[in-house]
């Protein structure tokens, strides 16, 4: 693994066509990592491993918040390509599989066509069943209600609010709406459901209200922001932090709209 990372000068030089393939495969893998929640260091490491594993001597990688650029070198030849990463979403299964692929390429000398086929397979991997995800997210928010000291009733309300909101979010994501709009609408749905029992006078507790919107916490962006900043990737770090902040603001906006719609006084 370390040999591949360090790039051995005695590798046979690749032809221009072969180097183009290597560059494209490594870039595809890197863009896929970036689009699904990997931090910048991880993207760079994966691209470098795959490129050198497939025969290039060296790869230079530029990770920007919405694009990845890779230059592969071999002998006297080099190839460069840019790939856009339009949406930053989260899919840990893809990170896991691309990581496994990069290990296989460095240890087992995989063919370029096999690597390409594997990337295609990974890009089409399914998510968990949407109903299961909605139920699990509901349970997670119910658990939060408990951690905040809520009663069984609070937990039940948070479960329903978060579960329905997650289902609505999945519908909206499929329609490719703006991510901030999706954030506000999802938060509005969750908090309207959670505030309904308060409006009807059934409870005075606001624990369900504050727990049911927690499904929207941009955890991956915030953790990646810290990791990128501490490792010196300031541009991607700032952008991820900003994105996390804006998405958090969307949660608050949705909650405020719900309070206003249900005409509940500020507590």
């Amino acid at each position: 693994m370390n040999e591949a990372l360090e790039g051995t000068p005695d590798k046979p030089p690749l032809t221009r066509e072969a180097l183009r393939d290597v560059n494209e495969i490594a870039l595809w893998a890197g863009a896929m990592m970036m689009a699904n929640g990997a931090e910048t260091d991880r993207v760079e490491e994966t691209v470098h491993r795959i490129g050198t594993g497939l025969g290039a001597n060296w790869l230079d990688i530029l990770v920007s918040p919405n694009a990845v650029v890779v230059t592969s070198s071999s002998g006297d030849e080099f190839r460069t390509r840019l790939r856009r990463v339009p949406v930053l979403s989260v899919n840990m299964r893809i990170l896991d599989q691309v990581n496994t692929l990069s290990r296989q390429i460095t240890t087992d000398k995989m063919e370029r066509s096999a690597a390409r086929g594997e990337l295609l397979r990974i890009s089409q991997l399914p998510h968990y069943n949407p109903y299961l995800v909605a139920a699990m997210v509901g349970l997670a928010c119910a658990a939060f209600a408990r951690l905040f000291g809520g009663s069984i009733a609070d937990m039940a309300i948070a479960f329903v609010g978060a579960g329905v909101a997650q289902f609505v979010r999945q519908l909206l994501i499929r329609q490719h709406f703006n991510i901030f709009l999706i954030g506000v609408v999802t938060s509005l749905v969750a908090s309207s459901i959670a505030l309904a029992p308060v409006r009807l006078g059934l409870t005075t507790s606001h624990i369900a209200f504050l727990s049911s919107v927690l499904l929207l916490i941009p955890g991956v962006h915030l953790v990646n922001a810290a990791e990128d900043l501490l490792k010196g990737h300031l541009v991607t770090g700032f952008v991820r932090g900003m994105l996390g902040g804006l998405l958090t603001g969307c949660i608050a906006l949705g909650m405020l709209i719900a309070m206003w719609l249900l005409q509940l006084p500020v507590i």
């Binding site: 989260v90 997670a140 658990a143 915030l222 990646n224 501490l230």
Partner: protein, 163 residues
């Protein structure tokens, strides 16, 4: 809201923090074989924080930082054991540490701001306190998780080693 520090309290805390982590791990599409490790990571981080707060009276900021370091370390250990990126274990495990209640109280204070002159305690001060504490705790989570990763020894090649 602070219960008596009994064994049962911490057991219950482990259970609910683990469940919250599991829900978010499924949301982030973590592969099934890695789910138990995620849950362990999240439950450990949260119970360490609760232990420090309840037993030793630590501030939430300091306790969260310790909890996040536990999450970061366990993530690195699990990453080696299961040959998967550490972030898979760390992100879902970080979620239970997020200070949702503080952010909420900050927001409530902020929307009381227009009527501030009629109140005794300034909502401005209240919003400031809660937002600053929220920010500090978020920074503690991010920093705590990233630090174990920074300590990992990595031989980084430089271009000069080739040409």
């Amino acid at each position: 809201m602070v219960p008596s520090p009994t064994f049962g309290f911490f057991l219950e805390d482990i259970f609910w923090a683990g469940l919250a982590t599991l829900g978010f791990a499924v949301l982030f599409n973590v592969p099934r074989r890695l789910l138990p490790a995620c849950v362990l990571c999240g439950a450990a981080g949260h119970v360490v924080r609760q232990l420090l707060v309840v037993m030793f009276g630590a501030s939430l900021e300091v306790a969260t930082f310790a909890g996040a370091i536990v999450v970061g370390l366990l993530g690195e250990v699990f990453a080696r054991r299961w040959h998967a990126p550490a972030i898979i274990f760390q992100v879902a495990a970080a979620i239970p540490l997020v200070p949702g209640a503080f952010a909420y109280r900050g927001m409530l204070a902020l929307i009381r701001l227009p009527g501030a002159e009629t109140e005794s305690v300034s909502p401005f001060a209240e919003a400031g306190i809660f937002f600053i504490r929220t920010g500090l705790i978020l920074a503690a989570i991010g920093g705590g998780i990233a630090i174990p990763n920074l300590l990992r020894q990595r031989r980084k090649p430089t271009r000069d080693s080739i040409h």
